[in-house]
């Protein structure tokens, strides 16, 4: 398998071609690498990564792009500990991953909030995101940054790193010097050294890389992360230019990771599932061709939502196709499953926990400093906080969770509800040796995740349900579908069974006139899975989940589809949440030719999407699809031919004509069984409070671990 072949980088050899690329983690302590960083990278080394690039460190104090951004001068102890830990974690000689130190200066894409200093940039072009005007660098400042790169690289090598990975990618000062978007100088720093075309503006990059190479010597690895398409053809680097830049810089470097994106497209480097996996492979192939022509020994690393081993293998020339790359960055895939490499190597590629490309927990460039994690693997980023549910399992012998390890006395466990909370609970309990019976009321497993996956651009969500289901089956969980659990049964078996209730959610309140009055407690009847309308309103009301469920295949293989479900005519989507659901529904409806109006209480649609990087892209997609966006407004009532909305800050009301309303409001916990059984059995996921996949899996897992008693 190409993916598992060793990779020569400079004079060093990586044991395979799976790269864990540089990315923000917020794991740092002030500006140093922390013990949490060590555990995070160590876990990926243990799981079979070939190359690990440590989070970018700023090479100069003028750069402080986010609060926990490492500063190279504070990183030496952390680098050393990471190198040692990764070497110790890798199983056997010759399989130690290469450890590279990421180095960067973010230039005008940084922040002045922490340094309280002006940002440095080639020219005073404000970044699109902050709109802050940077200071055009003076010659002594340029020299200081070049020296900073060299000093940082020297420090990384002295700390035992195999080399450095210099960021010339989407958030980087070096790229800003390369690009006509951001380098509008009129001095020598628009030129190039070594006979290269001055139009390439190579000089700053060349001087940095020369200084770094000088600092680390010929044997250490010098890699770069290079934006080869800034997606701004009017002035930015286009692919053909990117190829020339890559070929020129290849003179000095051992590896080039090909990325795309720039100041106008910050989400383009690491987009969510709305962008196809492997979207960059065409660009990668073009760059590799240009680089190979001048210096064949330079490794070209593919990047860009590559999360499946098969696509990675294909990119490397597997399956009898020509190679497009020499290595593959699979960062998010290894956040989702740190054992990716080990599982593939052991022939268990099918057991890799999938990356959903949801960006919900791993994309942490956010002022709140969230810790890098994963919806499907909540222990990622929390290696020191969370117990390993399968601790003690020697994955060198039998890869992955579940070797029939018995944790204390095996118990009989009844898990009610087979959404992701129940599935994860059953999976972990079974892996730990318990006898698990998983009972689901509906005909299939996966619960609301499968429904959400029917939304536009969200199909990969279903993969976590598939994986959990497959693991449960492999681990011998007894699964019963279409089976309703009565309270009496729970009471009867509770004596010798542990019971975990993962019963999901029920419809939420609808605090607007024309529907049933808001509930003030108790347990209303479960939603019938269909539409409702009441009073004199002619508007049919659907909940988001019920409507999406019509897109799912029934056990008989039929799809009713939302077209059949909805009356003809315009549709209003009411989104008091600002998450991905309403956007996906509006897009789906628009793609079916519906006239759609999305109403939200906020100043922008999809406010919560800023974390996943989909805020601007989602708004763009909606506008391009012709969805009308009514912002700063709340839904007040259903009229006879439409809905009444009120502008929040003026009190003005308008009627939006529609035949149907899709309510994307939050849900309530379906805790009827819990209440009917004495409010004493543990719950997990939406049955506690309807939230996201992450909380469901985290709580399902905790409930399983708690079966062995506290402290397990």
């Amino acid at each position: 398998m190409k993916l598992l072949e060793p990779l020569r980088l400079g004079n060093r050899t990586a044991p395979n071609r799976i790269v864990f690329g540089a990315h923000e983690t917020n794991l740092g302590r002030r500006r140093a690498l922390s013990e949490r960083h060590v555990a995070y990278y160590e876990r990926r080394a243990l799981g079979g990564a070939g190359v690990i690039v440590v989070e970018d460190a700023s090479v100069h104090p003028s750069d402080w792009p986010y609060e926990r951004a490492p500063l190279a001068s504070a990183c030496a102890p952390g680098w050393r500990t990471i190198v040692d830990a990764c070497a110790a974690a890798a199983r056997g000689e010759g399989v130690r991953p290469l450890v590279l130190a990421g180095l960067n200066h973010a230039g005008s894409q940084g922040s002045s909030a922490f340094s309280q200093l002006p940002m440095w940039a080639p020219s005073r072009v404000p970044d699109v995101a902050t709109r802050e005007v940077p200071q055009a660098m003076e010659p002594d400042e340029i020299a200081a940054v070049i020296a900073g790169f060299a000093e940082a690289a020297r420090g990384a090598l002295a700390a035992g790193c195999d080399g450095v990975d210099v960021n010339v990618g989407q958030f980087s000062l070096i790229r800003q010097f390369l690009s006509g978007l951001t380098n509008q100088r009129s001095d020598e720093w628009t030129g190039s050294d070594g006979g290269h075309d001055d139009g390439l503006r190579l000089r700053f990059a060349q001087r940095v890389l020369a200084a770094v190479r000088d600092a680390i010597g010929p044997d250490a690895v010098l890699a770069i992360r290079l934006s080869c398409d800034e997606l701004a053809p009017w002035a930015g680097i286009v692919a053909d230019v990117g190829a020339l830049v890559a070929a020129a810089l290849a003179e000095t470097v051992d590896a080039i990771t090909v990325v795309r994106g720039s100041i106008f497209s910050t989400g383009a480097t690491r987009p969510d599932g709305h962008t196809e996996p492997g979207f960059n492979l065409g660009l990668v192939a073009q760059i590799r061709e240009a680089v190979t022509a001048v210096r064949p020994g330079v490794a070209v690393v593919a990047q860009g939502s590559i999360v499946e081993w098969g696509q990675a293998e294909w990119a490397l020339g597997g399956f009898d196709d020509p190679a497009r790359a020499d290595a593959v960055e699979m960062t998010r895939a290894q956040i989702a499953d740190p054992d990716l490499g080990a599982k593939v190597a052991a022939g268990h590629a099918d057991r890799v926990r999938p990356c959903l490309l949801c960006n919900q927990k791993c994309q942490v460039r956010d002022g709140r400093n969230p810790i890098v994690s994963c919806v499907g693997e909540p222990r990622s980023g929390h290696e020191l906080d969370d117990p390993d549910p399968c601790a003690g399992v020697d994955i060198g012998v039998d890869i992955g969770e579940g070797t029939g390890r018995t944790a204390g006395a095996p118990r009989d466990v009844l898990v009610v509800g087979a959404g992701v909370a129940g599935l994860e609970c059953a999976r972990v309990a079974a892996a730990r040796g318990h006898r698990v019976r998983l009972v689901e009321r509906s005909s299939g497993l996966g619960g609301s995740v499968r429904t959400a996956a029917a939304g536009s651009g969200r199909s990969r969500l279903a993969l976590i349900a598939d994986w959990l289901e497959a693991e449960c089956r492999r681990l011998g969980v007894t699964i019963e579908t279409s089976s309703e659990i009565e309270p009496g049964l729970v009471e009867r078996i509770a004596g010798d069974h542990a019971v975990v209730l993962c019963t999901g959610a029920r419809p939420g309140l609808r605090p607007y006139a024309g529907t049933s009055p808001p509930s003030t407690g108790g347990a209303p009847a479960r939603g019938s899975g269909g539409a409702s309308s009441s009073g004199s309103s002619g508007v049919v009301v659907w909940s988001a989940s019920d409507l999406l469920a019509t897109e799912r295949r029934s056990p008989t293989g039929t799809v009713r589809g939302l077209d059949a479900a909805l009356p003809e005519g315009p549709v209003v989507v009411w989104d008091p949440v600002g998450g991905p659901v309403a956007v996906s529904i509006a897009e789906l409806l628009a793609s079916r030719g519906r006239q759609v109006t999305l109403v939200c209480p906020d100043f922008t649609v999809g406010t919560q999407l800023s974390l996943t990087g989909d805020l601007a892209p989602a708004n763009t997609r909606l506008l391009q699809a012709g969805v009308a966006l009514v912002k700063r407004s709340v839904l007040r009532s259903l009229g006879t031919t439409g809905v009444v909305v009120e502008e929040r800050y003026t009190g003005l009301t308008t009627v939006i004509a529609c035949a149907a309303l899709v309510d994307c409001g939050t849900l309530l916990p379906d805790d009827a069984l819990w209440r009917a059984t004495g409010e004493r059995h543990p719950r997990a996921g939406d049955a506690v409070a309807p939230r996201t996949i992450h909380e469901a899996i985290l709580e399902g897992r905790r409930a399983a671990l708690a079966l062995d008693g506290p402290g397990a």
Binding site: A113, P118, M119, R368, N619, L623, Y649, T650, A689
Partner: protein
């Protein structure tokens, strides 16, 4: 004593249970984001100590969390952990050294939180998602309510051990107690929901538990919200009733007040300069009529006279002055000593205090470079330590950067002259403050001029500086603070002086309008690439003058950064009332003559998400775009071999705070 004459009530002592305050100014609880790993820091101690030294009558710390389920923002003090006690002791020792009492505010934020940091379900009375965090909370089980009550008692005990003189229960803004009190968030049908008495049950249980823990040696206060300003929320009648219940316990020593809900109507809690001072006075006023406990009033108290009047009118017994003491730690001392004119007045701009809280950054102040940096004691000691060899310092430019550099240099004993081209100081701030409702921004100029005068800085106005004129002054060092100059984007047509009505002449910079150099009329488009007050201010100014105004921005929202300063909501209200149109996601790509000889300007607009373009005919276009640094003098001085530094917009055009911190940094190190 001038004090007694001017502010007799402000400087009269008052008993709050076992604690006597020497004056009525309270540095009330507010977030700082100074905590690290759930613990108070040196910075907390230094910050509170500076206000104690500055004469505050009472300090109430930021909230301490009572339970691990409560972690809504990263830098929250985890009061429930016993390891907080040494940090508490550090704070209270520092404050007590100045004879000032200090209380701890304790709280559980309830449903006004997310699980991002705690990784635990959010706890709330009912499964009602918070309007900001939007996470469905877990409806509390009764045994969990008991756990929360126990948490309050536990943390009160930690505070007692940590040397605090009192406890304040946060039951407003953002709090699980508020959540129970309010019908908007409490839908329970058990003993904790329904009637007001049942909704107040949690509060009363907490009062009893905390009092039992702290005994009678510590004061106990309750902070209540008088009007949540949300649908189905608590209003003043309920608040008065709850205050009566609180008094009836006989366990509580004072009542603090507030307005708004932190996660829904924050713009009325920490109101900016657009909201009149004293706007929340009706709350303490009503409560004080109903109970006999001392009542604290809050709401944009800017100066001691205003506070004195509120006391005199019987609205309240104490006044909360937070931002006033963030801007000037010596707010009280200056009033007491008759130097009230020296007070660095708060601008209520919210840019670096409130604005940084929502961004998870440490609290600072736009005009006080020491705020948030108090723990850098060595720095401030050296910043005011006189230099051995005073130098002749010439500062060019009397905007915020230049004046701050002058202040910092003069405080170190340098002989400083400021040369300003205009006849008056202030630079662009002066222009910004000319707009209705933005006048208080101009206080920064007043404050700096006052401080310059006190520091002995020579101000020379109406003088253009050049290399030669500077040389003639024989300075040891020149600090250039010459600001910025407007820049016109590439697509703006050249101005042809022979044609007064040529398209280029109809395109003006925002500073031209504010300075009165241009007076657009008719249909005016304001193109905004800055996303702050410039465009919204000029739009309002022109709308008030009768223009038909449209603000056009490439951003997703007009005035995006007004959200940070809590000005966005009310901008919308005012803009709607004034008929100002707002066009987002749109670039101006060209400006030319209108077709068929019609007067005015045809703008070529591009809606960038869809690529759609249209022509917009207007009479004027006002540009709010990045300016260019006016760095010519700096370069000329450098080239001429003069020792020269530069600060503020002539480095890179930014906002006031950047100018102030840069001026301070350079000025103190000359």
């Amino acid at each position: 004593m001038p004090t007694v004459a001017r502010y007799p009530r402000l400087f009269s002592p008052l008993r709050l249970g076992p604690v006597t305050v020497e004056n009525r100014v309270v540095f009330s609880a507010h977030l700082t984001n100074y905590a690290e790993d759930g613990h108070a820091t040196d910075q907390h101690a230094a910050y509170y100590e500076a206000r104690a030294a500055g004469g505050a009558g009472l300090i109430i710390t930021e909230e301490h969390s009572v339970h691990p389920t409560d972690w809504p923002y990263e830098k929250l003090i985890h009061g429930f952990s016993p390891s907080v006690i040494p940090g508490y002791r550090q704070i209270t020792d520092a404050v007590h050294a100045h004879g000032t009492p200090i209380f701890a505010q304790i709280n559980h934020n309830g449903g006004q939180a997310s699980s991002m940091y705690s990784r635990l379900p959010v706890w709330a009375p009912s499964s009602v998602p918070d309007p900001l965090f939007r996470e469905v909370p877990k409806e509390l089980e009764v045994r969990e309510i008991a756990e929360i009550v126990a948490g309050y008692a536990l943390v009160a005990g930690h505070c007692r051990q940590g040397g605090f003189d009192g406890i304040e229960l946060q039951c407003s803004h953002s709090s699980i107690v508020r959540g129970f009190l309010s019908l908007a968030t409490n839908h329970r049908t058990d003993d904790y929901g329904g009637t007001l008495a049942r909704r107040a049950r949690l509060l009363l249980e907490i009062v009893a538990a905390v009092r039992e823990t702290i005994g009678r040696d510590l004061a106990l206060g309750v902070r209540l919200c008088g009007d949540e300003l949300i649908e189905h929320g608590t209003t003043i009648d309920d608040a008065v009733e709850v205050a009566r219940m609180v008094e009836a316990t006989g366990q509580v020593d004072y009542v603090n007040t507030s307005i708004g809900v932190a996660t829904a109507t924050l713009y009325m809690i920490e109101a900016s300069m657009h909201v009149p001072p004293g706007y929340a006075m009706f709350i303490p006023s009503a409560i004080r009529k109903a109970i006999s406990l001392p009542v604290v009033g809050v709401g944009r108290f800017k100066d001691p006279l205003q506070a004195e009047r509120a006391l005199d009118a019987g609205h309240c017994d104490l006044v909360g002055v937070v931002r006033g003491q963030i801007a000037d730690a010596d707010f009280v001392a200056k009033a007491r000593s008759g130097h009230v004119d020296d007070t660095r007045l708060c601008l209520s701009c919210n840019q670096e205090c409130v604005g940084r809280m929502g961004l998870n950054r440490w609290l600072g102040c736009i005009e006080n470079p020491r705020t948030g940096r108090e723990a850098e004691r060595g720095r401030w000691a050296s910043a005011v330590a006189l230099v051995d060899r005073p130098q002749r310092v010439v500062v060019v430019g009397a905007g915020p950067a230049g004046m701050q550099a002058a202040i910092a240099a003069a405080n170190r004993g340098h002989r400083v002259t400021v040369i300003e081209r205009d006849p008056v100081p202030g630079g662009q701030v002066r222009l910004a403050a000319t707009v209705a409702n933005r006048a208080e921004l101009g206080d920064v100029i007043r404050n700096q001029v006052t401080e310059c005068r006190r520091a002995g800085v020579t101000m020379r106005y109406g003088e253009e500086a050049s290399v030669d004129s500077l040389r003639a002054l024989r300075p040891d060092v020149v600090v250039v603070a010459t600001g910025s100059v407007p820049e016109r984007p590439w697509w703006v047509p050249q101005v042809d002086p022979s044609l007064a009505e040529a398209p280029g002449a109809l395109v003006v910079d925002v500073t031209d309008v504010l300075a009165g150099r241009a007076a657009p009329t008719g249909r005016v488009a304001v193109f905004d690439e800055l996303g702050f007050h410039q465009a919204t201010s000029v739009a309002e100014l022109l709308a008030d003058r009768g223009c038909a105004v449209e603000v056009i921005t490439p951003g997703m929202v007009v005035g995006q950064d007004l959200g940070i300063t809590l000005d966005l909501e009310q901008w919308w209200m005012r803009a709607s009332a004034k008929g100002i149109a707002q066009t987002t996601d749109t670039l101006v790509m060209g400006a030319g003559p209108c077709a068929d000889g019609r007067p005015g300007l045809a703008l070529q607009l591009v809606h960038h998400p869809t690529g759609g373009s249209e022509l917009r005919e207007v009479d004027w276009l006002v540009l709010c775009v990045p300016a260019a640094p006016a760095d010519g003098l700096w370069r000329a001085c450098r080239d001429a071999g003069i020792r020269v530094e530069r600060v503020g917009d002539c480095v890179a055009p930014r906002r006031i705070h950047a100018a102030v911190v840069e001026g301070q940094r350079v000025g103190e190190r000359l």
